[in-house]
Subunit: 338 residues, 2 copies
């Protein structure tokens, strides 16, 4: 996401996450004018961003790599926001643009809001379709089904949606967004309230996950994806940079094993770029890290250690199967891996 | 210490610790004009400061509380440096001054350097005698012997000085001062060099302490005091604030047990004020923490858990005994304790 997650938000009284402005949906029936179609859309992400990373994981688990192409922005934004400076000529090879903002401008001229990822862009017109990070992955799971790979899991099972929605709402408020409220707090009280909420919720989640392998049901769902993208960033950035430091993830036996289990599941860890994550947070948020120095830690080798969560049972992909290997062009470089 | 450990040093190319300017020694024979004398001198410290905390611990272990009185400065300096704002009327009740700087000025007018703790002040004249943090504790151990309590340990045993000096020099360079070099680095390379050195040395120390209870010999010495004052600050401030985050102290089984063993030894943990430590670093160094927000973590309860280091043998106080309880006026308030 990172609409104004950097310095502009930072001077305000309390951190408020912007609502997505572009909320058109890409659906099977095309009712918003955007029908699901293989090869038509491009998913623009930053691997640094937890909100965008949800979509990267969903796309992998569902086997949408061939149908929905991927543009990875540079983890360091400049004053024009997300840039394609990792690509030849600093230009996205499919959209032909240098900044994601160009797709926003193509959709709505003089749009005054921030530029955020994840974003889906309509390739033929170059227009942004949606930056609705809350809806986007649910639609990948439920509207793009005709394009799913054989054996794709059901990430938003109809019978579990009420429970999932409730869990995801709590996780959003206290964890996904809670770490940002702590990190971007400008006052002691605001920080303490947010940090307390983060750890209260993590403690409850740790308890919940003591005897069950996954958050809801006995298979991987969107709820796990949403918790994972925060947990994987916890020790590298939220613990120190956002001062969520009562304990490290690695100090909570249950959550640490849960996170490692997911990390080692195809489609999760193989999308994570710790180099992008650390450089983005520590270099972009000069309001809380004026030197821009990126820490050497934490030691990441633990991510690959045995987790023993299989003993809890569960069927990671339900009646489905794990995704195949990462497409060669999308493999995370060695410096981003544990 | 904290001569310019705050913002003024911070803008420079590389962090250089100032040498002490006032290096007179208080000795048994009084050769510098300052003879050891009960009641004559006042030790000025901040409980936040690792260099000053060495002296607080030595004074306790040696039972010098009655002979050498203690002034505790506010952990938050202002532009006039260390203040006695914890005392009635914001004035040290014995020296009658509001700022430690007044004792510096009494000794040398227009002294251009910084004001640092630990400092020993001559009460009758109000003059600073020494701020030589490297020498000061060694003199407490070797020159103040006539005033030591019965059963005081030998903190700088004659037969072990070469080994101690070598160990303390390495610990100073890479650990005591290394964390500051990492934390106050203004460039990535400078930071990485310092942070690497911190953890290389900690790893070597962890290995050394695997089979021996104390750093040198089989009793507590000055070498342990000097390592302890950095270790006790490691997770609360150096890990996050100074970016020494490869791992927490609590993640290294040996060093964490070693630090807890000392913490639970009378004279060590009973001098530690985590509230002063955290507020000092996070509020004073606005160059690296512009918001001045003080983190809620880490969870400190682990400091009081069993360490099992007794199994390694060792005789904490050698032929001596542990110190008695902390004088009532010097007890660390509850908010500073685990």
């Amino acid at each position: 996401m990172s609409v104004g997650e950097g310095n502009e938000q930072y001077g305000r009284k309390a951190f408020k996450r912007s609502k997505s402005h572009f909320t058109d949906r890409i659906t099977a029936d095309g009712r918003d004018g955007w029908p699901v179609e293989a090869g038509r859309y491009r998913l623009v992400v930053s691997r640094a961003c937890p909100w965008a990373s949800r979509a990267v994981i969903s796309r992998r688990l569902l086997g949408l790599e061939g149908a929905l192409s991927l543009a990875v922005a540079d983890p360091i934004q400049d004053d024009r926001s997300w840039r394609f400076t990792l690509d030849p000529d600093d230009r996205d090879p499919v959209l032909g643009i240098r900044f994601l903002k160009e797709a926003y401008d193509a959709r709505e001229s003089e749009y005054p809001g921030g530029v955020s990822v994840p974003a889906i862009v309509d390739v033929p017109s170059g227009e942004l379709v949606t930056n609705d990070y809350q809806r986007l992955t649910l639609d990948l799971a439920t509207e793009w089904t005709n394009l799913h790979r054989a054996g794709a899991p059901d990430l938003y099972p109809a019978g579990l949606r009420d429970e999932m929605d409730a869990v995801m709402a709590e996780v959003y408020e206290d964890v996904n967004n809670g770490v940002y409220r702590a990190g971007f707090a400008t006052g002691q009280e605001e920080y303490e309230e947010a940090c307390d909420a983060v750890f209260r919720r993590l403690q409850a989640l740790s308890k919940r996950l003591t005897r069950r392998r996954y958050l809801v049901g006995d298979t991987i769902t969107e709820a796990d994806i949403r918790l994972f993208t925060t947990l994987v960033r916890f020790d590298p950035v939220y613990h120190g940079h956002f001062k969520c430091n009562r304990w490290k993830l690695a100090e909570d036996r249950v959550l640490w094993a849960y996170a490692r289990d997911l990390f080692q599941t195809p489609g999760f860890g193989d999308t994570v770029d710790f180099d992008h994550i650390k450089r983005h947070y520590y270099r972009v948020h000069t309001g809380i890290n004026p030197t821009g120095i990126v820490p050497l830690g934490p030691d990441l080798s633990g991510w690959l250690t045995p987790h023993q969560r299989e003993e809890l049972g569960g069927r990671p992909f339900g009646d489905g199967t794990p995704p195949g290997p990462v497409p060669a062009a999308e493999v995370v470089p060695p410096q981003g891996r544990p």
